[in-house]
Amino acid sequence: MSSLAGLLGQPFLRYAFIAGAVIAAASGLTGYFVVLRSQVFTGDALSHVAFTGALAALAAGANLLIGLYGACIVVALAMAALGYRGQADDTVIGSVFAWILGLGALFLSIYTTSTSNGTSGVNVLFGTIFGLSATQAVTDSVVAACVCAALILIARPLLFATIDESVASARRVPVRAIGTVFLGLVGVTAAAATQAVGALLLLGLLAAPAGAAQRLTARPFRGLWLSAAIAIFSVWTGLVISYAAPKIPPSFGILAVATGVYLIAIAFTANTNGRRA
């Protein structure tokens, strides 16, 4: 108990726990729909954009957050606009994001050679949740909380539009607008999650809790809440692990817990399916 008090006594850990929980909730909620709508590849592309956006802002001498949020939101909206006619070809997405990442490598090289900021690239790639300042933690928490609220507001029509697009549009659900808003929310979540787990790993925070939740329950709203709960659990447990063993980066702890939960969910459901058969 005293160790827990010690844990929360440190301001940087308090920020990490609070901001981490809100970001995890946003990732869990949006991730559930990302997986349901088979847009995992989009999440992957956004993670690359997050890296390049953040480093472009740094290389230009601007605030990292501007580049991060700006790039993620613009690209998410662009993908919504371009990729609507059917699923965008994965070759196209793949080529675009490889090039974007190449650009990120360029900005990284500009930034690290012009100044002596050797670790900034690593921070953007793999996250710095223990390095969040008070203002960053507040910004990220507020943004992620807004994402959660917006997503819960559009959850019902979004679910309808996801499961049966043609019936939904026949029922006057604005399918296209909802899809665009949703991708915008994914962009914001990606930017916030980049701060917590890093650009390269945010895909795991989007996909793993959602995948586990979908295996554990077929009921959509229960799955949505479960996904958020698993994400928060992963972040908190990961933070505690990383605090206990400082050699382990927090991002690894978070991802390891999330992956572990997913594996358990797969094993659990495979078992019950086997018994039923």
Partner: protein
């Protein structure tokens, strides 16, 4: 000024080339790049045709923790690259259908989780190894410095073996790719071919990772093939074109990286992507010119 000193880029192409070739590391880089471009082009062409670019991406990403783990364990990075990518190829070949029966969405969630977890493992290994940040950017975004002659030999042997196997299975693999149902009905072992192909793809991804870095493998694995398949639909022509485009991309990228301070990964992806965009624009141009003619008879 006849190439014996480093003079920077000039309009004298011969002097530029001589300058490029005067350092053994650059010769090794060009050799390695050539080998990698051929292997990646050949396997990438089938990968794009089979729409497995997400799998190829995963195999490449897995090579990062493989290399980082091998360095941590005191082995050579090249062992780690191949072991991890080929192992992951086998796992991907085994997993989806045994879990299968579910919707595609669940499968992509698994792939996404595996990717992120692999990268997290790489971050863990790097953190455990401690203080090798330059090595980290090299692993992720590629480096053409310090490729030794023995590494070139290893790349050559693996590439030759992979291409030989690919040549053996090319015809049935093409059949199984274009029409899996008919191929299966004709007794072609579709599933086995798919597994062998994923292992070969793992070899190619591991090779490309060593030049472009684990994150930029798409530049050589996907872009040349995608460009070629936009230019022509004829299999043999586009196959040859893929390899040609891959070679040009690598050579230009290495040259540009030599003459500038920026990373090789950036140049290779940029040249590859430029080719892809130009091919797309060219096709769109042809299409708009052909459309009135096609509409006239109707």
């Amino acid at each position: 000024m006849t190439g014996s000193t480093v003079t920077g880029l000039s309009w004298n192409v011969v002097a530029d080339l001589r300058q490029l070739m005067q350092f053994p590391f650059m010769v090794n880089a060009l050799r390695a790049g050539t080998i990698v471009a051929v292997a990646a082009g050949a396997l990438g062409w089938f990968m794009v045709l089979r729409r497995q670019s997400f799998a190829g991406h995963t195999l490449a990403i897995v090579s990062f923790p493989g290399a980082a783990g091998a360095i941590l364990a005191g082995l050579s990075a090249i062992t780690g690259y191949f072991a991890a990518s080929v192992g992951a190829g086998l796992v991907i070949a085994a997993v989806p259908r045994s879990i299968g029966g579910r919707a595609r969405s669940s499968e992509s969630a698994i792939i996404g989780t595996v990717q992120a977890f692999a990268l997290a493992c790489g971050a863990l290994f790097v953190s455990l190894y401690g203080g090798f940040l330059n090595g980290l950017t090299g692993l992720l975004f590629g480096s053409f410095l310090g490729i030794s002659a023995s590494q070139v030999l290893a790349l050559l042997i693996v590439a030759a073996a992979a291409l030989a196997v690919l040549a053996l299975i090319a015809r049935p693999l093409f059949f199984a790719t274009v029409d899996p149902d008919v191929a299966a009905a004709r007794g072609v072992p579709v599933r086995l071919l798919g597994a062998v192909f994923l292992v070969l793809l793992g070899c190619a991804a591991a090779e490309v990772s060593q030049i472009t870095g684990a994150l930029l493998v798409f530049a050589l694995l996907v872009m040349p093939a995608a460009t070629a398949q936009q230019i022509t639909a004829r299999p043999v022509v586009s196959f040859a074109l893929t390899i040609g485009l891959g070679l040009v991309t690598v050579w230009l990228g290495l040259t540009a990286a030599y003459f500038s301070v920026y990373p090789v990964g950036f140049f290779i992806t940029t040249f590859g992507f430029a080719g892809y965009v130009l091919a797309g624009a060219w096709r769109a141009f042809l299409w708009t010119r052909r459309r009135p003619a096609a509409a006239a008879p109707a």
